[in-house]
Amino acid sequence: MLFNSVEFIIFFIVVTAGYFVIPHKFRWFWLLSASCYFYMFFKPVYILILGFTIVIDYFAGIFIENAVGYKRKTFLIISLIANIGVLAIFKYYNFFIENINSFAPSPFLPYLSILLPIGLSFHTFQAMSYTIEVYRGNQKAERHFGIYALYVMFYPQLVAGPIERPQNVLYQFHIKHHFSYENVTNGLKLMAWGMFKKVVVGDHLAIMVDKVYNNPTQYEGLPLIIATVFFAFQIYCDFSGYSDIALGSAQVMGFKLMQNFDRPYFSKSISEFWRRWHISLSTWFRDYLYIPLGGSRVPYYRQLFNLFIVFMVSGLWHGASWNFIIWGALHGLLLVLARLRERFLPTLHLKANNLVAKIIHILIVFILVDFCWVFFRARTFADAKYIITHLFSNISLNSLKNVDFVRNNILLGESKQLFLVTVLSLVLMEIVHYFQRNLSIRSYLSTQNKWLRWGLYCLLISWILLFGAFEKPAQFIYFQF
């Protein structure tokens, strides 16, 4: 079920109303049933995979807690193998086979004819964080099977995160949440904001990005640059929009999920970008891969190597393709270079105290991150190579005449105007982000005159309904991971 669909709105109202109406002791069952329904809306059979890992990890957690000595590690390894095994089969098997077969004169290993279960990487990582935390003693094993299943399957974050930690979420399923006007209205506001990002900005930018990136060789120069810049905002609006709706819909019921984005395109360094972008994944890799590899306790060059490896793995987490690995490796390389510069050429660092220096930093980081996005979005390595080599060829306004948003009627003949509305919405979003650096917009609004406040809420809803891309609700990009 897509968050940007009428079905979800009905589902959300029914589930939320039911949640507050039924007694606390049945609420876990209500939420679990709703989450199963939510997941099965995509492809029912894949719930069996979820069921498999849930059963394994539930018992693994209890066994780890009860066991002593090497047995604890054994149970942890069993759990990790089960989770990674599922990922390996459903997500990476065909990729590995394809690469092995490419070395042979003719393909000799068979491919699996399977579709990637939606959100697989998210819920397996969340499940793994549970057994790891139980093993580390940071979390008590959950004895209530239904609640544990709900921890993995809680519908707001089931298919695209945030990838939660058991310490943050599990206990919340035991707490009785009362209807709170503040939680409900704040949650709804967050959902509306997420919807604005997704359907007003992201999905409209996607039209132009898709046109160019699905056929990049037809373009050169400005169209490629614009599409690449737009993709940076498209993916941000798509993914952070999803996260906002997830956080908001959980907040309405009284649950607090971790923040996944913090205005990442205002970052002044690549490492800051990764503290602000997909926070739940970057902290997952930090806690469960980078630190176990030695963290900052190993020699300096080993640290850099580990950092690079972690980002390559992070790339692979996103998808089974060399483009994602290259994307991850590029980020790893940028971070390594940044660390080397900090160590050996500290004087090169611009003092980011004044506004101009801050803007320069932000722009440099954006350009670097956007360059990496080329690999993330391009369908093949050859496409990515073409785009990069043709970004600056034939830079002229005339080259824009080839772009479909100017030449053809996209979106039922209103493309040019809608394009302007999209850009205006994007600018508005970034203005809101800019002001959010020092204050919470929601808190600020709550102090304003109620007519102004409600006027703004009505305007936001109307803006979404009028300018949202509802013709064919587009799937969220991160669902594929």
Binding site: V6, Y181, G413, S462, L466
Partner: protein, 311 residues
């Protein structure tokens, strides 16, 4: 909780009423303009269809039929009235079949020439037509009430958005190609010959045609055929005219559909796909829109194929 319910109900009511009132205002203002577009021709086509005596020949399909036949010539050759009901492929298969069901009588002949892998079309266009011609509401099929509601809401948002962006913000008084207006049709429901004399190359196309199962649509056509036969009418199928360049892009998919038709369609197929393929220069603006005088060439071929069955 009470406070929340009151406020949320008020805001929902306010937004819903505002949108609906704005929509009604816009539609009332734009109705005349809308009725003069190509879509407005549905009124004229249905009026003539109602008035025609049986036996008559009724042409059904998307715009390939609207451009591809010379109905007055057909009337003359077949010695029966001919009504071309086609408007656009985006009306979808169900709409096209539903809109003639009631008007077909004993002895009538239906010639079906639908575009390759024609789907259920665009709800927005169907709802727009239903506004211009209210009986068309019953030609629109939705799988359930929710889909019906969704389509209507999307239509309202889309029309308001169009009005706001094109009329209020940019004062766009764009005039459609005259070949796509209500007055472009002759009395039989074809686009008038003099309006599509020149070829506008390169033709608009939808890219290669994808091969897929068409069984659901074939079932719909078969149900329609059964109903028509129970009324004493006959249905024939003819492949749509198509530009050669498009045919060459997807010959396998087209042949696959041909085989699906041959296997499952419960009506006579009077030609084969290649019989309706013409050089690109014979087309007006898209791969399905024949220009004058090639529509007469196509018509002659179809009459020749059809005659053996009519006799």
């Amino acid at each position: 909780m009470r406070q929340f319910f009151i406020k949320s109900t008020l805001i929902t009511l306010f937004v819903t009423l505002s949108f609906y009132s704005a929509f009604r205002y816009v539609r009332a203002k734009e109705f005349l303009i809308g009725s003069q577009t190509m879509a407005g021709a549905i009124i004229d086509k249905h009026k003539r269809l109602n008035d025609l005596p049986s036996p008559k020949l009724i042409l059904i399909g998307g715009s390939n039929v609207m451009f591809g036949f010379n109905s007055p010539y057909m009337e003359q050759e077949l010695k029966m009235p001919v009504q071309n009901m086609a408007l656009a492929a985006s009306l979808g298969l169900s709409f096209m079949l539903n809109e003639v069901k009631e008007d077909i009588k004993k002895g009538d002949v239906v010639l079906l020439s639908i575009e390759y892998f024609l789907n259920e079309g665009d709800d927005n266009i169907k709802l727009f037509l239903a506004e211009l011609y209210p009986p068309a509401k019953k030609y629109i099929e939705f799988p359930n009430v929710l889909e019906d509601l969704k389509a209507n809401c999307k239509y309202i948002f889309r029309e308001l958005r169009k009005y706001l962006l094109l009329k209020v913000l940019s004062n766009d008084n764009h005039i459609d190609d005259v070949a796509y207006s209500r007055k472009a049709f002759n009395k039989n429901g074809n686009i008038r010959e003099e309006l599509r004399l020149v070829s506008h190359l390169p033709l608009n196309d939808g890219g290669p045609i994808a091969r897929k199962s068409y069984s659901e649509s074939i079932t719909k056509i078969n149900k329609f055929v059964e109903l028509m036969e129970s009324k004493g009418a006959k249905v024939y199928f003819v492949f749509p005219c198509l530009a050669e360049s498009q045919y060459k892009l997807s010959p396998e998919a087209i042949e696959d559909l041909h085989q699906q038709y041959k296997k499952s369609l419960k009506t006579k197929i009077i030609n084969s796909p290649i019989d309706s393929v013409y050089p690109d220069s014979c087309f007006y603006d898209t791969i399905y829109h024949l220009r004058s005088p090639y529509h007469t060439v196509h018509t002659k071929k179809v009459i020749k194929d059809l005659e053996q069955y009519l006799e």
